[in-house]
Structure formats: structure tokens, C-alpha cells
Amino acid sequence: MFVFDTFSFFGKLFLRQYADAVLSVVEKKMHIETVTVLEQKGKKIFGGDYRVLKFASGKVAPRVKPGQFIHLRVTGRDEIVLRRPFSVFKAGKKSLSILYKIIGAGTEIMAQLRPGDKASIIGPLGNGFPMPAKNVYPVFVAGGYGSAALYLLAERTKKKGTLFIGGKTDEDILCVADFRRLDWNVRIATEDGSAGQKGLVTDILKEYLSSEEIKRRQMAFYACGPMGMLEAVAKIAMAGDWKAWLSLDRHMGCGVGACLACVQKIRVAGGRGASDSWKWARICTEGPVFECREIVWGNEE
């Protein structure tokens, strides 16, 4: 009797610890990893102030899903207390790349990184894009380097779709070669006419959708770019009864869902009054991707 009880006691203890160990590996959603710079590609390949940074990563990279991001810290400047979020551009089993624009203190430091330098990343973060459903034709809409946030989804879905990309000048039209290599159809618009058609990306999108044949297609939109562009895409999608998955940008604090800085108003079904009809969602955790009908427009940064 005594022997049996001891056995079952230790047996249960062992099983619980084993289960905990297994669960702790299986359930971890994010990792913190010190990564090494493999490549920094600059001005000659991309126009303007854009760069691509490639890191060797064994923990985060293999876990990245399309539309997710990493939270990056570059050390050496203690007065910069926050990490910077970047959509993952490309990711494989041992490395990942991000495309960034040099716009301030943090990105200026990143531009100084050379192969062999180290950085710290937390990731993969965010919900990512849903994979396009079986009979649905993917239409991507990108504002400038929003195309980088969409690239991984194009690479991993077995379908070939169309990318609509817009920007101020040809220097802001990025990743086109990468999409063409995937055999995607790419249509370009620039505000000054220096590449593709003169005008906004939503202009060429609307033209495309004006054909009766196209209008009847089963399509879904996936978009990344300035809020104004995203709102325009949302209106087009809702008018044509298509789904639109939008990746939102927001200033972040912690990046992991604790500080509540990066919030966006999201519709809540069945609310009783004005204040019940919406709730805050964290762009770093419930987002960055939301279906356009969820978003309460008009109060972004």
C-alpha cells in the first residue's frame, strides 16, 4: 500500500513536471534573441533612405508567420529607451530580414550596423495575416515600403496574385523585383509619375476593379501603408463586399502587450451605447492585422 502510494505520488510529480516542460516549449509565443548582422544593404540597391538588414536568427526566424514583426534594440545609446518594431520582410530557418527607412534616432543607429555586429530582438510578435483561402485571389495593396510587410505572405501562399504599390516617387517603390520573381503581377503608381502610372495606388486599384469580370472575382485584399491609404482600401473593399486585411502601424512601448500605448479602437458587436460600441485593441498583440470592418476610423495618430 505504502509502496504504491509513493509510486503514484512520484509518478504524478514526474508527469506534471514533464508536462510543464513540454508545454513551456510548445506554448511559447515569443522569444528574446541576440542576433548577429549578416548583411546591411543600402543606397545602391534601394533608393532614398531605405535599407535592408539581415540577421542570423535561430530562435525567432523559423517561427515567423507572414505579417508578424520583431521588436529591435540596438545597444550603445542608453538614452534611447524603447525598441523599434519592424515588419519581417523575409524569414527562413536561420535568418530574417527587415526593410527600414532612416527617419530618426533609432534608425540612424541601425544604419551604422555592419556584418558581425550584434542586436537584440523580441519576436515574432503580432497576429500576422491570415493565409488566403482556397478560391480567393489575393490582391495586395502597398504604400511605399509596406510591400516588405506583405512579401512573406506572397512567398508562402501557393497562389500568384497582384500587388498594387504606390509612393511619392520611384525611390519609394520597393520590393517589386522580389514580387516579380514570385511570378506576381505588379502594378505601380507614383504621385510624380516617375514610375508606373501617375497618381495614387488607390487610383490604379479602382481602375482594375472597374472591369465587370474582375468585380465578380472572389478576392481578398491585404494592405500595408499609411492610414489614409488603408482607409481608402477599406472603403473599396466594403463597397465590393470583399474582405480586406490591413496591417496597422502605431508607436509602440513594450511591444508585447503590457503597456497599452499602441492601441486602436475596434468595433464591438452588440454594444448598448456609444462607449460600448468599441474597445481598445493592442496593435502589437491583437494586431497589427485587422479586418477593415473591425476598425473604428478617424482617431489614429
Binding site: 542608453d78 538614452e79 529607451v81 524603447l82 513594450c254 511591444g255 500605448a261 492601441v263 486602436q264 481598445w280
Partner: protein, 301 residues
């Protein structure tokens, strides 16, 4: 490194500060919560609160200014959606609470009596972000006395009072808290501050002003901790700009019995562990067998 803060037994003197660690789950993949001395969860009020409009956060040199606005799920939401996860861990959980009136403070405090998994309460009397009348409790001696004594009457839990730095003589406020039944005081909360976008000529935060935290405030926090520790006999928890064991040790030498790490959790979630390890190595190096030998050991002759 064991300490006892007003009845809360901690295995080391390092806490995760309220508002910077969410409700534990957000960081659980990156930091083993069981290693923390204590976890102070984000401020809970009686009813759910939505908090401020965005932008809610802005980075500044050496820190950040936040105006989150105390968004929280309310008492019921905390018990239902957040506490069960925390109960899986051994870390002492301290719940930060606040209210819009003395009665609200007392009511929410009373609700925590008998709640399993809560080891103490920290009352926030100083948050500078809410505009609705009266929340400058921590800058008014009479209101501070009223809130502390009312809460004391309504809770059996260890009671920590988190002091506002926005006062001339913080020692006086520490004394008021002690006299009215606080088991410990924690300080400092963030400093009222603001940031302006000079191109648009608008404040960067939607709330216009917010609370400054991070390395920039450490020297001010240190002086206040020293003043508070000299004024009272109850334990003092020091916080403000800890980014390494160095700042934590300075707080302890100045009289703090424990410390809390806040903004640094955003920079690098492993900093809190480095702080713990650094304190331990320091004690070994200085041949101190007990952290009590270090508390208040500042030499001023």
C-alpha cells in the same frame, strides 16, 4: 536576499513595477515570473476604465512620457481574466489600485479581502494622468491621510502607498502614510512632463501632459528615496530609472529595502534579472551575508 516588505515575503528585493509589466502573462514567455521578488500588476479600479486617447506614449532622451490613462479591466475583469494565470506562479502578486474618490479607493481595496493569490495592495495616489477632479491625492497632505486611513480600515492585506514625486517634501508624505497605517511606501511615480511637435506646434500626447519615467529621473528619485527613508521606519521601495544593478544598489544604500524596475522592462525584459544577479554579486563581493546590512548604509559625515 530575502526581504519582507510590510508582511509580503519576497525571495529577493526586486519587483516589477506597476504599469510596466501588464498582468504578467504578457512577459511570461520572456521572463520566468517565478524568479521575480514580486510582481505589481497594472492599476485596478472598481469599474473598467478605457483610458486616454492616443498618442499615449512618447520617447524622450533618457526616458519616456506616458499618458495611458489607467486603462484597466476593473476588479471583476481582473479576477476573471487575469488573476487565474498569475495563480499558476509562486511570485507574490501585489495589486496596484486607484479610485476617483476616497470611497472608491476603499471599495476596491475591500473587494480584495480574501481573494486567493493576492499578497498585497499598492495604492496609487499620485498618477498625474487623469484629469477628472481630485486626483492629486498624493500632493495634498489631508487627502493623502484620508485615502490611506480609509483604505487601511478596509483591508487586511499588506498595504503599500505609492507616493507622488510632485511635492516639495516627500518625507512629510511618507510620514503621513506611515501614521495612517501604511505597511510600506513605494516611490517615485512618474513626473508630470510634456513633449511638443515643433513642426505642427501641437503636443505629442493626446492628453497634452503625461508622466516621465526612465533613466532621466533616477537622480531625482534617488534623492527622494533617501529623504523618505529618513522620515519613516516602515520599509521603502525605491524606483525610478533603474537600468542596472547599480541604480538599484544606490536606492538600497539610500535606505530602500526593496526596489522596482519599470521602464527598463520595455528596453530589455532581461534587465530585471540582471538587476537581481547584480545585487547578489555585490553582496558577495562586499562580504555581506544579508541585504539588511546594505539598507540605509549611506555614509554622510
Amino acid at each position: 536576499m530575502r526581504v519582507n516588505i510590510g508582511g509580503i515575503a519576497m525571495k529577493n528585493p526586486v519587483m516589477a513595477a506597476s504599469g510596466t509589466f501588464g498582468y504578467g502573462k504578457e512577459y511570461a514567455d520572456l521572463v520566468d515570473l517565478n524568479r521575480l521578488g514580486a510582481l505589481v500588476v497594472k492599476g485596478i479600479s472598481l469599474k473598467p476604465e478605457k483610458g486616454n486617447e492616443t498618442p499615449r506614449l512618447v520617447e524622450v532622451s533618457g526616458g519616456l512620457i506616458n499618458a495611458i490613462g489607467l486603462q484597466n479591466p476593473g476588479f471583476d475583469g481582473f479576477i476573471k481574466d487575469y488573476l487565474p494565470f498569475l495563480r499558476k506562479y509562486k511570485v507574490p502578486v501585489i495589486v496596484n489600485i486607484w479610485g476617483r474618490s476616497v470611497n472608491e479607493y476603499a471599495e476596491v481595496a475591500a473587494k480584495f479581502n480574501g481573494v486567493r493569490g493576492v499578497h498585497g495592495l499598492e495604492i496609487n495616489i499620485s498618477c498625474p494622468n487623469i484629469k477628472t477632479g481630485g486626483i492629486a491625492f498624493g500632493t495634498d497632505p489631508h487627502m493623502t491621510a484620508e485615502v490611506v486611513s480609509k483604505v487601511r480600515q478596509n483591508t487586511k492585506l499588506p498595504l503599500i502607498v505609492k507616493l507622488s514625486p510632485n511635492v516639495t517634501k516627500i518625507g512629510d508624505f511618507a510620514k503621513i502614510a506611515e501614521v495612517n497605517g501604511a505597511d510600506a511606501v513605494s516611490l517615485i511615480n512618474s513626473f508630470p512632463a510634456m513633449a511638443i511637435d515643433i513642426e505642427s506646434r501641437r503636443p505629442i500626447l493626446a492628453n497634452i501632459t503625461g508622466g516621465l519615467s526612465g533613466p532621466a529621473i533616477h537622480p531625482i528619485a534617488l534623492k527622494m528615496v533617501w529623504e523618505a527613508a529618513r522620515a519613516v521606519r516602515i520599509p521603502v521601495v525605491g524606483m525610478g530609472g533603474i537600468t542596472s544593478a547599480k541604480e538599484a544598489l544606490a536606492f538600497i544604500i539610500a535606505g530602500a529595502s526593496a526596489v522596482a524596475v519599470g521602464t527598463a522592462n520595455f528596453t530589455d525584459p532581461t534587465i530585471i534579472l540582471q538587476v537581481m544577479e547584480g545585487i547578489e554579486s555585490y553582496l558577495i563581493r562586499h562580504k555581506m551575508s544579508n541585504i539588511r546590512e546594505l539598507v540605509g548604509s549611506l555614509v554622510t559625515d
